[in-house]
């Protein structure tokens, strides 16, 4: 049964005894199989983008160790939320409040640590506690009212942003909370989010002269930033859950056809609420990383991040209508995003053009998605 077309007497035609039903179905070659994977389009896109920037001026700086770390960090920050957003979109829902949640979570950390005297770990834990509640309420309202999540989370977008600005100004008189990391009893906690790994290895490479070093002998790139590690962890977990677990099957079915899923006993409401919580938590993780790196919280952080995440996810081959796509596609989408953003910077083109490029990329991605979905369904259109 697993014979490939090589076993067939005629190339591309399946022997009759294999299908039993319809000899007109041609066997899928490895290339078509690869193309049928939801992330195939974005994979090609990523290679194309990488090649384009490799021949443009500034390629040397972009693909240097420092340049690579910069665009990887950008990709990582977007990728963390894109992974959660991908799960949610595959389950058939949107979360537009994710950008505001980034700002709000940062404010929670800032206020609890700076103005309530919480240790750092407790401040971060409070932010995640708030994320649980926000995600739960977003999900509950969507599931109970059956309103489109687009509208429900659009409301959360404004409420959370307004709360972040309002509360911060009421407490501090400003819209930023600086010097959060000063005088905390547990500064090591920050290292989990803003530190670097493999620092010894990078230092060693520096001493050998393989990578650039500063005048004091320490390398320009001290190691791999924790944000990249977090991105890999989040992507790994989300990808594993989606394709390898029962819950993943439920995610696909909730977005594919919620009524059918409910009929066979899939707890669709629970699946969706869980994913709204996951997306709020991913936003909070990103907020924590940003606050730890900057040492301050800003109420306008995360503005438009919800759309950037949706772009990465859709570019990654996830269908906006739900039920189809992978997490690895979303990770590739985030990578393209980071690459283009830094690539344009290094080419010397005015970065104002980044948004134009972004718009074109979205359009192309959606067209490619349409095509790959038709491939996946064997050119058959289904309701």
């Amino acid at each position: 049964m697993t014979e490939k077309s090589e076993a067939s007497p005629v190339q591309g035609v399946t022997p009759k005894n294999i299908t039993g039903a319809d000899e007109r179905l041609a066997a899928a070659g490895w290339f078509t199989r690869l193309l049928r994977r939801p992330e195939s389009g974005v994979g090609c896109g990523l290679i194309a983008t990488a090649i384009i920037f490799a021949v443009l001026p500034g390629a040397g700086a972009l693909y240097s160790l420092q340049g690579s770390m910069t665009f990887l960090t950008l990709a990582a920050e977007l990728g963390i939320i894109a992974a959660a957003v991908a799960l949610l979109i595959i389950a058939g829902e949107f979360d537009l409040s994710i950008g505001s949640m980034i700002g709000f979570a940062g404010v929670v950390i800032g206020l609890t640590v700076k103005h309530m005297g919480f240790p750092l770990w407790a401040g971060i834990a409070s932010a995640f506690g708030v994320a649980l509640l926000v995600g739960y309420f977003n999900g509950l309202i969507v599931v109970k009212t059956r309103l489109p999540s687009f509208i429900v989370t659009l409301a959360s977008l404004f409420i959370l942003r307004g709360l972040a600005i309002g509360i911060t100004r009421a407490v501090t008189g400003r819209t930023q909370i600086p010097y959060i990391l000063d005088d905390v009893p547990d500064p090591w906690v920050a290292g989990i989010f803003n530190g670097h790994v493999f620092t010894g290895f990078f230092h060693w490479m520096g001493t050998l002269g393989w990578i650039g070093v500063k005048s004091d002998g320490s390398p320009f790139v001290p190691g791999i930033p924790m944000s990249i590690i977090w991105w890999l962890i989040v992507t790994g977990i989300a990808g594993w859950v989606l394709t390898e677990t029962r819950f993943g099957n439920w995610i696909y079915s909730s977005g594919g056809d919620a009524a059918v899923a409910r009929n066979v006993g899939v707890p669709v409401a629970r699946v969706k609420i869980t994913l709204f919580v996951a997306s709020a938590c991913a936003a909070t993780l990103l907020a924590t990383i940003q606050v730890m790196e900057a040492g301050s919280a800003d109420t306008v952080r995360g503005m438009l991040k919800e759309f950037e995440a949706i772009i990465a996810v859709v570019v990654g081959g996830v269908l906006l209508t739900g039920g189809y796509g992978t997490i690895y596609g979303a990770a590739f989408g985030a990578l393209i995003f980071g690459l283009v953003q830094m690539g344009i910077f290094y080419t010397g083109i005015d970065t104002d053009w980044f948004k134009v490029f972004l718009g074109i990329v979205i359009l192309v991605a959606v067209l490619v998605n349409n095509y790959t979905r038709a491939k996946a369904l064997g050119e058959r259109s289904t309701p």
């Binding site: 039903a21 099957n249 439920w250 006993g265």
Partner: protein, 265 residues
Amino acid sequence: MTGLPAIELRQVSKRFGSVIALHDIDMKVYPGEVHCLLGDNGAGKSTLIKLLSGVYQPSQGKILVAGEEVRFRSPRDAAGYGVATVFQDLGLIPLMSISRNFFLGREPRKGVFPFQRFDKERANAIARKAMADVGIQVRDPTQAVGTLSGGERQSVAIARAIYFGAKVLILDEPTSALGVHQAAMVMKFIIEARLRGLAVIFITHNIRHAYPVGDVFTLLNRGGSQGTFRKSEITRDEVLSIMSGGEDMTAVERDIERLLETIKR
């Protein structure tokens, strides 16, 4: 037929407000028998299926499974009693693979918490075998259901119902959207299910699909039963004439003839 009916309706009625959709339906379906439910559009077939499958609850009357009175709260509840329904829209998700659809909501798992996984190898193997049992060789259980033909999709739904231990299989217009070849394929599945001792309820308005595979025919018209007949008791034309309301049809034919006459002139 002797023994207990697999499923039985006693004086079942269903009203929606002041509309009487079904009244006083009696029906007995025995294991190893194909019971065809025939009726024109609006005869009450859909309502009856929804009662049998747990989507609706009867306003009056009883449903008995293997001699015991039951009350289905949902299709899932009905499936728990061994009453599985293959709906017209099939209850399959086109963008998901055959084996993911097959085990949706009942996924086999392996490993220990928190690393418990969906056992895809087992799911693929079982899905492939269950499909082979109803006579479909699947090339690749990981291919999307959307790539299958209409008849093959029916086979996924039917194989799934049989695998999960259905005693009663309800098929809602399984052949209506299919071509001749595909419809024949589905009729073969129906016979397969019957040979396995399932009670099959086959809903259709197409007598040509019902008559070859049916053992018993219940005819519905305007929400009421026009009687239940064994195959030996009734001919195809008689079924057809009762279905369409007998008298009415001859009247329609007369009208058409008159119309044709006028056109000729």
